[in-house]
């Protein structure tokens, strides 16, 4: 197998950002860049196969990452159905969460509403951080409104996952009136929460599949974890649905048959592991970014 020339490597690096494009268009990009090399060589009276000349041209062309991302942005469809469906799912999940507040207010205790409002500012900062880590690498493929909806979705996830702990902590430091019992009110009411799992599952799944499709290096591991998280959310949804619906339909005698219990706990385990892995990968990625040497091409203005 022959070794790649510097320019071939450069073109491959550009193409790594264009995996969402049809093969025909990728081929056009390759052909055009190749032609640019030959034109430049002809103009400079140089050999286009000379590695030194190719390095010089690459320096004139600018960062392959920036060129790839700019080309991806230039070809980004104005409406792309996975974003649309994912965004709608995320929006519904967010609305579903906030719908829990008035439901809590109407049926049980208005302090649930107050507790939720208390948790909002506390959770906003980590939500912003997670959003930055998870969605930033996908920015060239996503429009601003999908990012905002992603923010809302991530925020809802944080609320659902950490909310009881925040309130428990507040009780520990002296805000006893908030109370663990009331804090767990929402999470105990699965009939309020379980549709949220399905919608979050769809969102995670779509983000994961999108990451696989675009092959953005920073998110390739995250994509698999995101897919796992999506599947686990959906299986959680299914377990709870079965737990609620089967007894109601009188298909089974007991309210929670063992298979549903097992499914629930396995889903919960996958959910927890995938979330921990996502957080770990995000941390590693952030560490890599902070230690990455800044190259001349990355810092140079590209016209």
């Amino acid at each position: 197998m022959s070794e790649q020339t510097p320019f071939e490597r450069y073109v491959q690096q550009v193409l790594a950002h264009l995996t969402a494009l049809p093969d025909e268009q990728r081929e056009r990009v390759v052909r055009e860049l190749q032609q640019h090399l030959e034109d430049a060589a002809q103009h400079a009276n140089a050999d286009p196969h000379d590695p030194q000349f190719q390095h010089q041209l690459i320096a004139q062309m600018g960062s392959s990452r920036r060129l790839g991302r700019d080309l991806a942005r230039a070809h980004r469809p104005s409406t792309y159905w996975p974003y649309r469906i994912g965004s709608i799912a995320a929006l519904c999940s967010t609305l579903g969460f906030f719908a829990a507040m008035p439901i809590g207010f109407l049926f049980r205790n208005e302090e649930v509403v107050m507790d939720t409002l208390f948790a909002v500012p506390v959770l906003l900062v980590p939500t912003m951080l997670v959003l930055h880590l998870i969605y930033q690498p996908l920015r060239p493929q996503m429009s601003w409104w999908t990012l905002i909806i992603g923010l809302l979705s991530t925020f809802a996830l944080f609320m659902s996952a950490i909310y009881p702990y925040i309130v428990t902590f507040s009780e520990w430091i002296g805000f006893a009136h908030l109370g663990l019992d009331r804090a767990l009110y929402i999470t105990r009411r699965t009939y309020v929460f379980f549709p949220l799992f399905a919608l979050i599952g769809v969102w995670y799944l779509l983000i994961g599949l999108l990451g696989r499709k675009t092959h953005i290096p920073a998110t390739s591991e995250f994509s698999w974890m995101s897919i796992a998280a999506g599947i686990s959310y959906l299986s959680l949804f299914l377990a709870i649905l079965l737990n609620l619906v089967l007894p109601w339909l009188q298909v089974v005698q007991t309210p929670s048959p063992p298979i549903v219990h097992q499914m629930f706990w396995i889903s919960l385990l996958v959910w927890a592991l995938s979330h921990m892995a996502c957080a770990g990968i995000a941390a590693i990625w952030l560490a890599e970014q902070s230690h990455k040497p800044i190259t001349h091409n990355d810092t140079a203005a590209t016209a």
Binding site: Q35, A40, G62, A303
Partner: protein
Amino acid sequence: MHMAEYRELLKGSLDLLILTLLKSEPMYGYQMVKEIHARSAGALKMKEGSLYPALHRLERAGLIDSAWQRRTDGVDRRYYRLTARGLEAVEERHATWARFVAAIEGVLRHERTDTI
């Protein structure tokens, strides 16, 4: 030579430069890079890669279109040319640019008068 400052200014005006070049004749990528360099007497030297995203974006916007053509030297090149919409756009952008330059120039002239 204030190359870095020129690059910053060039970022916002690359579309206008491309459309203007194509108003005179169809061109291919490398030809445009050299033409911009030559017409600006070497002042505007761009990162050559940045031309292609701009070309693809303008093509998707319907302002230009492209086709592979064989030149007399037997080599195929992707030539870009202005569409009817592109021709309208270049006229509008020229007018906008002229107003912008006049406005900036007005401010600068005022500043120069004040400092004399």
